[in-house]
């Protein structure tokens, strides 16, 4: 049954009455010429779960994240969200899906340098056609929630690395996506700031009920998640729940 969203929720405008859904990878394979990046990868990510994907360089974890999020189309197999195929969608439809139902956090934020923080955060809503004032109001609320009240008009260059990454998190969740993909979200940060960012990222996605898929090299970052999928030589090498004591 679809959860009810409060009347002010942007979800009502973006994806009316959309239930939270499971993201599933089924027998995914992907090659770049002779190089095999993914081979027969299968798993499900239930709604609301935080999953870390780890593996050595070149293991295929980045390709996996791109296939799951609809950036790349697998050579074989299928990615689905709530039972509906993602990988068979056309390029434009996949772009629309990413814009409306997924959120992204990148390694070094990738905020637009000429926009103030509030406009960077509001961008996904503006792209959906939500009026500017309403989008900025929601952006300011998110920035406040993430401890950036008073910094709404600062530009990315006027923020520290951790603050910029919090802006990126606000941008990733403002449109209440079903899945947030984070690609090495702490890669450009020191350890303490990295922990702060992971705490905010996991707490924010948990409170909004979104699933979280984090690609990382760092064990410490992976411990913030509930589940660890390890990729080696293009295949799932290990898939385990992370116990609370370990976390």
């Amino acid at each position: 049954m679809a959860p009810a969203f409060p009347p002010w929720s942007t979800r009502n405008m973006i994806t009316p009455s959309l239930p939270r859904k499971t993201l599933a990878a089924h027998n995914l394979s992907k090659s770049y010429g002779p190089v095999r990046a993914l081979a027969d990868v299968t798993f499900d990510i239930p709604s609301g779960q935080a999953v870390a994907i780890m593996g050595p360089s070149g293991s295929g974890k980045s390709t996996l994240l791109h296939c799951l999020s609809g950036i790349l189309v697998p050579d074989a197999g299928e990615v689905s969200l709530g039972g509906k195929s993602v990988s068979s969608l056309k390029d434009k439809q996949r772009s629309l899906l990413r814009r409306r139902r997924f959120g992204f956090v990148f390694q070094d934020g990738q905020l637009l340098p000429e926009l103030p923080a509030r406009e960077n955060v509001a961008l996904p809503l503006l792209l959906t056609g939500i009026p500017r004032n309403r989008a900025l109001k929601t952006a300011d609320e998110w920035l406040g929630k993430l401890g950036l009240a008073g910094m709404e008009n600062r530009r990315p260059g006027e923020l520290s690395g951790g603050q910029a990454q919090r802006v990126a998190i606000a941008r990733a969740v403002i449109h209440e996506p079903e899945v947030v993909f984070a690609d090495e979200p702490t890669g450009a940060l020191d350890q303490t700031t990295g922990h702060e960012v992971m705490q905010i990222l996991t707490a924010t996605t948990a409170s909004s009920g979104a699933s979280l898929v984090v690609v990382t090299h760092d064990d410490e970052v992976a411990r913030w998640c509930q589940r660890l999928i390890e990729i080696r030589d293009a295949m799932v090498h290990d898939d385990q729940l992370i116990s609370r004591s370990t976390r």
Binding site: H66, L97, R98, P113, R155, H217
Partner: protein
Amino acid sequence: MSVAVSLAPRLAIERIRATKGAGVLDAMAVLAFTVSSWLALTVAGGTWMFFQRWQVEGALPSSQQSGLAVTYVALAGFACALLVIPILGLGGGAARLGARGRVRRLASLRLIGMTSGEVVQISVIETIVQSVAGALVGSAIFVLSLPLWQLMSFQMRPIGIAELLLPWWLWLTVIGALIVLAMASTVFGLRRVTISPLGVARDQTPRRLKRWRLLVVVALVIAFLVYAQFTDIASFIGLGTTIGFLAVVIGSINLVGPWLMQLFARPGARTGNVARLLAARRILDDPRGAWRNVASLAFLGFIAGFVVTMPTTTGDSGPNTFFVQDIQTGVAITLAVGLILAATATLMTQASQVFDRAPESIALDRMGVPATIHLAVRRRLVVVPLAVALGTSVPLGLVLSTVAAVQLESFPVVGVSLLAGTVILGFLLSLGAAEACRPLQAGVLRVQRRRND
């Protein structure tokens, strides 16, 4: 032979040959040098033609025309002076193409033990290779385009191919000057790049430009209009001081230009339309830079607006009538050259931005932002500064000429049509240049890699 001297030409040639990825920028630098050499030689050829007609006795059909011959040389020299700025801008821009990529590459060379002097040497040698290649192609285009000029006439005499051909020493001077200036731009540009990569947004909120800029220009225009009412423009001193005053008014456009960019871009920064918002924010980020790209066009637009209303029919068909017609034709040619330079500069700037902004574009693409947004932003970044520059300078020129200098008897249909046609063609060229970056953008978005994987 130093390492830099032996390494640089090979690096430059290999990158020009590699037409993939950022290698396109090196090919584009050659294109920019080609266009600037071609147009510089053309403008120099025209001036040389007037100089020859002045010097050679009996070259002109009447004594009245011979008396005006030196004025033609002076006006052609003035047109050269006006075009020097955009030509230098193009050369300088070519030298700074792909600022981020260049800095990264040079930083790698520093890491493997090259001194900063050697790194600068490498860049300068690369520029020499690119500019010499461009100069050769540009010279060939100049020679091939000569027959087309026969369709036009000045001083009641058609242009002859031989008249435009430059003597070897003048050709060498023009090309040599372009290469030396490109080298200087490289050294200067590289210094600026190391401080803050050009074409890349500043990190901090820029300061707003103040309204006093507009007030100064308005005061100057009013002063000029009042002055013109009480001055006898027919006298030699009157004409001289009017031209001098007009030059000050034209120069003051540079003061108000960046402020106008800011003024016209600001409403865009308060919109919910993402393409309009991004374009406006980028202009507001550096209004002086946006103005710099079109400043020379604004001057040309002002002059074109000023001369277009001059009467071409005085009842007789004497040399004075043809003098005015020749001025109008000369201004139209100068404006056309300026617009071609602007379109080439647009192509270069926008192509460079595609690569400099690649990480942000890829991030936006992954977030699901449609690729059409990039194109829409680029179009606005091209059209808004052009429209502001020409939309303010041409009417200002028209107003000043009709109010202060020229008694308009009938609407100058031919002049205005020629001006409008040139401006529209220039707009289309610049828009075409922006469109030409579409495959580059698509290529950048196809590259889906993560830096540390």
